[in-house]
Symmetry: C2
Subunit: 452 residues, 2 copies
């Protein structure tokens, strides 16, 4: 079945598209509704905006709720804004409380207020709305199974019987004492227990849990470290308030990886895709290019101080960018390694000096190797040994500099509580560019007599 | 408990370190053994190499096996190479079959052969050894629970009773008919069923499954799309051969994200960390810098064709890098967006021209904005309007070029089955650098009379 998934998805997509095209809306809706929610999301996302709207306006409330539960927040927001308030309120009522709260938080304030007014059951959602999106509370579902420590296995089985079969598969039952979390009970233990055993005799009191205000990244790292399928969330009073499941961890870690990749490449909007609206693309990219304009003009100012010697030895202009560029590339490599290793939590604490020394040694060796090759090549090409020496020395110096900045900038950002990925190529290469030009042209100035 | 994890881990690490320091090895081993495997891995990794060896030589077989099961493959390999063959064989016998197979595959051939010879039970491991690491077969565990479709719930409960309590928590029982996978049974269904019901009446025949030779990335995307906690793996005869669980998905997607981040920054060894051996760092970084040396020298050759006019108008050397650099930054932004969106499977098929047009428009607008600002700034600074115009026009052209290459290179790589992340900054900026210089200096040549 799955091996043909790609192919069959494209067939279904084509079928839905052509049904929409010839305005056979019922066919399109029927074809869409029988899909797995995971497929619905992928197919919906690939439709053009007008076809999305056509489909959405004809989908029943519960199918819309499932779609909204599953797709990414920004896609849901776009879709939701096209609904009437009445319809939106009905969909919100059917959505999972945590997803409904996320959507309400993303909607314009007046639309959210109107929808809340029209909703039937707002208790869970209002409770969740107090948490920022990026906390455990903002990620957790309130849709979990808990039992008192005084309950029996027979009651536990009754509870499981009552939950709907399409309920997300439960992995654990959480055990509470006066609403305080005291442990978990795996379904395996429940299956193999004798009837009417007290839960208190079966449960495991050693349960990993997280605080409701904990940052989602920390939660995800915890679940990843301990391979947890689900983790309970407690408030300050140790009351069980929600559960975070393995699919949330995946979402968080994928989002964090996207954020790192984008920040390293100086893109500030992590929702950007190649077909995002052009205005969004400009908003997420232009500010960084402006920042780079400033740093580039600063580098130009450095060069402009050497205009006199460049006018005498124009060949300097030919090679100055090699020094700056190679330093920039080496620095980008270093920053990527630091940022990713930090994200995975593998940087030993208190070793800055050790790591700095290593990166300087790496830079030194890289500089010696690249500097020798470039220096020799340029000597053979231009026939001036001093030009080769100046280039080689400048490369060595700039590569060592790259080792220094690619260590200190990410580690410095981290130590002041900032995202090390902000040490993007633009920022780090601003240093290796400017100082690269300065080193090369200063050295050239020293050897000027031999270069003319 | 968990909120103090960071703090207590550092205390334990310190305790273990100082016990090792004063050669109280038993204390160190005792403190280590009571930790959760997830913590053991994190602490072990942060120890210095000599302390690792001291600890490892004193850890019992089963603790060593748990550590090896949990830590990353390259860490396990390093640790395993220090063991005697007899001890290694004992540890391999205790390890999970899939992890043991991974380790055997990574070890030098003769060491692996000797260890296999000394192992007690090699059947599962030999079966798994035939799969490459990066396939479903290479990732799956053979340690799962399956039952015949003809079994009863009472037999299912008996089976669950027999498995060890420290067995990885099972989420599903897989149902087979003559060893062929026919469906799954959630533990919830088992809990709420009456005794002696036939499994055949309870199970769900609609089970997602993957083929044993499927690429691990595809498996992970499937499990992520459908939020699966576990997925069964079948061979060509549809026999159930293993199971992949949610923690494997996490590992795969984290590895893929690391690979993308590293490739985009032109680092070819995805195991590199800032404290990796210097020789490894050079192996993973220097080849790319060499490649960049060639492209940089090509860019230099382009500039060298304009040496004559640079000698006349040295100010060109001051600003040429702004054009090249801004194009490079814009291209890096575009590549990051394409690579990540492709990795998440969100690029609509058959839209290359549409996406190319959009990126060219984005490049055009970015070029007009940045070009105007830089052009105006340079005019005000240097007092020559033509210099500003040449710079502005060159920036517009190079930004449009950045839009083109950052679309076509990743999409082209993808279409020939290569990793789009190979369109790293080094490769894409080679184009924007070289052509950036060419465009700027050619335009300058045209306006030469106005620039002198």
């Amino acid at each position: 079945m799955l091996n043909d998934r790609q192919q069959s998805r494209e067939q279904v997509l084509e079928a839905i598209r052509s049904s929409l095209e010839i305005k056979q809306f019922n066919n399109a809706v029927e074809a869409f509704k029988i899909l797995h929610p995971g497929d619905q999301v992928e197919i919906f996302e690939l439709l053009d905006a007008d076809k999305k709207a056509e489909l959405l306006s004809r989908l029943d409330i519960s199918s819309t709720a499932i779609l909204f539960n599953t797709q990414e927040d920004d896609e849901t927001l776009q879709a939701a804004e096209s609904l009437t308030i009445d319809r939106l309120a009905d969909v919100l009522d059917e959505m999972e409380p945590d997803e409904a709260a996320d959507l309400l938080g993303d909607l314009p304030a007046d639309q959210a207020a109107k929808a809340l007014e029209k909703m039937e059951d707002t208790e869970d959602v209002l409770e969740l709305l107090k948490y920022p999106d990026e906390t455990a509370g903002g990620r957790m579902t309130t849709d979990f199974i808990s039992l008192s420590i005084n309950a029996t296995t027979t009651e536990a089985i009754e509870t499981l019987r009552r939950i709907e079969p399409d309920h997300e598969a439960p992995y654990y039952i959480f055990v509470t004492d006066n609403e305080k979390l005291v442990g978990i009970l795996g379904l395996r233990e429940l299956v193999v227990s004798s009837p009417d055993t007290k839960i208190g005799e079966l449960f495991d009191p050693e349960v990993f849990h997280v605080n409701d205000w904990m940052d989602q990244e920390e939660v995800a790292q915890t679940m990843a470290t301990y391979d947890l399928a689900a983790v309970p969330v407690v408030d300050d009073a140790h009351h069980l308030v929600g559960v975070i499941t393995h699919d949330d961890v995946l979402d968080v870690l994928q989002e964090e990886a996207t954020e790192d990749i984008y920040r390293l490449a100086s893109v500030s909007d992590t929702d950007l895709e190649p077909d995002s609206p052009i205005i969004e693309q400009l908003k997420g990219r232009l500010p960084w290019l402006f920042l780079n304009t400033l740093t580039a003009l600063f580098a130009s100012w450095i060069i402009s101080n050497f205009e006199g010697i460049i006018a005498q030895v124009a060949v300097l202009a030919v090679f100055q960018s090699v020094v700056a560029g190679q330093g920039g590339n080496a620095a980008s490599q270093g920053v990527a390694i630091f940022v990713r290793t930090m994200a995975l939590g593998n940087i030993p604490p208190g070793k800055t000096l050790y790591l700095l020394t290593r990166q300087m040694i790496v830079g030194l060796i890289q500089g010696l190797v690249v500097g020798f090759v470039v220096g020799l090549g340029v000597y053979l090409w231009k026939g001036n040994i001093y030009l080769g020496i100046v280039l080689g020395l400048a490369l060595v110096a700039n590569m060592v500099l790259a080792g220094i900045v690619s260590t200190l900038i990410p580690m410095g950002l981290k130590s002041i509580g900032q995202d090390p990925a902000l040490a993007s190529s633009v920022l780090v290469t601003a240093v290796t560019d400017s100082l690269g030009f300065l080193i090369f042209l200063s050295l050239a100035n020293l050897f000027l007599g031999n270069l003319i």
